[in-house]
Amino acid sequence: MSAEAIVEARGVGKSYDGGVEALKDVSLALPRGKLSTLLGPSGCGKTTLLKIIAGLIPPSRGEVWVKGMKVEGPGPERAFVFQDFALLPWANVLRNVAFGLELRGTPKEQRDEIARRQIAEVGLSSFESSYPHQLSGGMRQRVGLARALAVDADIILMDEPFSSVDEQTRRKFQEELLDLLRHKEKTVIFVTHSIEEAAYLSDQIVLLSPRPGAVSRIIHPNIERSGRNPDEIRRDKNYLDAVDEIWQILKQYVA
């Protein structure tokens, strides 16, 4: 991988009170401008690793470096998309999308304008004044994504963002995500337990072994995506090889 690393984990470990070891000596480099996936069976600590990178959980051992700076907490160059969306139920879509900017003290007019643009990009323009409970799961996650895009971070951290939406929405969302990111210079770190999702989306897949989570293998699917439709990608030999390779490794962890 020629691209320089934007996120680096060095010997990261995490133990919880009571001695549960969630992560053990994880070292990896995630390239700038690429989509990297953290993939593994449930309980492998992939979400913990993502939250450590986000600065939401402190590591017990080791350190994480983002853009040459050691992570001590959340930072403006990282934005998070939550598995359960984490939208304010009492705020409409516009305020939810603008919320990151609101916290930063961006004046209302300016942040609303940015938020409107992001809402349009995720295809929710007519829902600006709707409330989260009026939206489907897929639409709520678009709001979560728009909120992360609105703060214009270089790195988008996504924690199983599609796990609570149905399969059709999930596929459509994956395609849109690729489309959206193709035009942006974003680095995406994506946590999933779906092999197909990882192979379909990623430039680089980090396979984690179960508890305590450790890097088991790093795979570069090397799928040519530009100018091809999703069905072509899903029939691509490299895509199918990647899915198979991941499954060969993961199945030894299935009890």
Binding site: A54, G55, L56, G73, P74, G75, P76, R78, A79, F80, F82, D84, A86, L88, P89, W90, F99, G100, E102, L103, R104, Y131, H133, R147, V151
Partner: protein, 255 residues
Amino acid sequence: MERKNLIGTRRLWQLISIIFFFGLWELAGRWPISLAFPPFSTTVLALLRMTADGSLLKAYLSTLQPLVIGIVLCGIAGIGFGIGMGLSRSIEWFSLPIFIILQAAPMAAIIPLITYIYGIGLASKVLAVVVLAAPVIVMNSYKGIRNTNPSLIQMCRAFLGTRRQEVIKIILPHAGALIFAGLRLGLAMGFIGIVIAELMITPTGIGDLITYHSSVADYPEMFGAIASIIVLAALTIHALERLERKLFPPEVRGS
């Protein structure tokens, strides 16, 4: 149409329930089960007489004074204290046991003690209201704060919110519904407190009407006074409940 029918049927049954209850009362009074138990119609007439001669209004003016003062005090100090308990571990550990005991204890039992210390004036009656209303108001505020969705707090931190923003923009709006419900329950307890105070400490206001008319064997007037405070409390609590649903609709309150 279906829904309209349902509401119609509901109203009909509610009407039947009311007629049944008052009809039973009327019958029991005419039987009579006791000379001291007047029928519904006589009670209503007595109530109208007391309204006309102004004694009911005068009684309520003096009854509502300590009730309102007590609830306002609880509203300010109790909510403030409950929020403090929710936000600070030290305050929580310091005061939680006290409030758990206060909430479970039959607080009416300490009203004689209040009289012993504070005499028979306004202060004692206010205190009686406070002692009954405060625990539920404090506990509800505390629980409202403590039950904030942890995912929203994490979201706020991930988007660089300060602790202050976290409290103002996430925790307090989230707790609003429970705090308001606490006030409503507190008022219900306050009604109990004030009636006990007026019966046990010194007969004033509505308590005076009840004791006086019972001592001179004007049982319809006595029952009229009792019924009036029950109706007033029930209507006030119900109105607050409706206001609560309007201010904090279940789908946007987030808890």
